[in-house]
């Protein structure tokens, strides 16, 4: 009898929905600047894994996997240790920035006190980066957490928005974010209304920051039904 090791089901037709050579096409002309790029989210990609999630915004694709909670024999504190393994980001400055941001976002969401002396290992693979890798990674981790069954506060949504000449652009690709003043990656837990991470970059004027954050929050809220639906679907399949 063959051993079925995983039920990998990344929808390949959706993966190829945006061909790679379309990267340079100015997509803001085609889509509304207040709308997200075409997205695909999946909760539970690998059958044998403890937890896995996949998120795709346009050409940015991120896969997240969770190992654990396991006891490693060394960690003896009264809370769980969260380790992160980030792959696919070549720029070292970006890597350090993303790692710190993701670790702080995840640690604030998981109930670490419920897993004393355990280690939760998170592996994030950025398959392709076309802008907004951080927000996509945070979405993928949220889906993987929901799949793993580790107790946490709630699903996290995140949005990446940039400011260009008094105009806000939601979820821009690399080509679309040319000539921008600055931007923000905003992630928050919608049910408690608490933000878990704000990554502001560029020279955003101080009087614009509030509006930019509010805009990002609205965009993050608009993602909630999509992620919620993906999680509910995965539970339905498991049942």
């Amino acid at each position: 009898m063959p051993t079925i090791r995983s039920n990998l089901s990344i929808p390949l037709n959706e993966l190829s929905r945006i061909a790679d050579d379309q990267k340079e096409v100015d997509q803001t002309k085609q889509r509304d600047s207040s709308k997200f790029r075409p997205l695909c989210v999946k909760c539970g990609v690998f059958g044998t894994q403890d937890g896995s999630g996949y998120a795709e915004f346009g050409n940015t694709r991120v896969l997240a996997q969770i190992f654990g909670p396991d006891g490693d024999g060394k960690w003896e504190d009264s809370y769980a240790k969260i380790t992160l393994n980030l792959k696919g980001v070549e720029d070292e400055t970006k890597l350090a920035e993303y790692r710190a941001e993701i670790i702080s976002c995840i640690s604030s969401v998981i109930f670490v006190q419920k897993y004393p002396g355990k280690v939760i290992d998170i592996e994030i693979t950025v398959i392709s980066d076309d802008g907004g890798a951080l927000s996509t990674a945070l979405t993928a981790v949220s889906l993987a957490l929901a799949h793993s069954g580790i107790e946490h506060v709630g699903l996290t949504t995140s949005a990446h928005v940039v400011l260009r000449n008094d105009e806000y652009i939601t979820d821009p690709s690399t080509s679309e974010s040319e000539g921008v003043i600055g931007g923000v990656t905003f992630s928050f837990v919608p049910n408690l209304g608490q933000s878990t991470g704000i990554n502001l970059y560029g020279r955003v004027p101080i009087e614009n920051v509030k509006n930019l954050l509010e805009f990002a929050r609205q965009k993050a809220i608009s993602l909630v039904p999509v992620i919620h639906k993906a999680i509910v679907k995965s539970v339905d399949e498991m049942k």
């Binding site: 003896e76 355990k118 929901a146 709630g154 049910n191 509910v232 498991m238």
Partner: protein
């Protein structure tokens, strides 16, 4: 909230606790009850000690109770291997819960006072009960002092050594509940053997229990 409703983490399950008691997969924030895992809502009732009906609301991941818990939980009967024996504790590795084998081993401790019921401290040495490389059936129990490791107990007739090997790796045969004999040298050794029930029900609806069919 209707039983069977599928919830995602962070979904509001109840506006307030009301008559329910909180089970697994739920937490309270801002006086409201939210789900902390993805699954479906389940409500069950049981009678407590003073014969009151208690309604418990919880979120389950699947219909199989073993799939609900990621880690060995208090009251579960597990299979463990004794890795090292000290003066007051034996170090064990939990291998399986019921017939579900974990992907990774969890380290656990077997304290000396949990070897035999109703005896606070034993003067007998550890080797009269378990030795290194024995496989034991044990129950996970709570201990206020030890939080980072699971604490095991074999203080029941059904719990104890199920498989052990002698000095040369040969199989040991059971003579009685406290003695084993080597199949090669004929030497006897003391052990606390488990009276493994013939009809073993590891999981009930709400808690784990062992039933003997003697």
């Amino acid at each position: 909230m209707i039983t069977g409703t599928i919830v995602a983490p962070g979904d509001k399950v109840l506006d307030r606790v009301g008559q329910y008691r909180l089970g697994n997969g739920l937490y309270e924030a801002n006086k409201r009850i939210y789900s902390s895992i993805a699954g479906y809502v389940n409500i069950y009732t049981f009678k407590d000690k003073s014969d009151n009906l208690v309604q418990v609301i919880e979120v389950r991941r699947s219909t199989d109770p073993r799939e609900n818990e990621l880690l060995p939980y208090v009251g579960a009967v597990v299979t463990a291997k004794v890795m090292a024996v000290g003066l007051r504790f034996a170090k064990c590795d939990i291998i399986a819960i019921g017939d579900k084998v974990y992907k990774k081993r969890f380290s656990a401790l077997l304290p000396k006072k949990k070897l035999r019921p109703l005896e606070p401290e034993l003067s007998e040495p550890f080797k009269n009960f378990v030795r290194t490389n024995d496989y034991i059936l044990a129950k996970v129990c709570e201990d206020v002092g030890i939080k980072d490791k699971f604490v095991l107990s074999i203080a029941e007739d059904e719990l104890g050594v199920v498989l052990c090997r002698g000095k040369f790796g040969e199989a040991m045969k059971k003579v009685d509940w406290n003695t084993v004999i080597s199949t090669r040298t004929g030497k006897t050794e003391p052990r606390k053997m488990a009276k493994v029930p013939q009809n073993c029900v590891l999981f009930n609806d709400d808690s784990s229990a062992m039933e003997t069919d003697a």
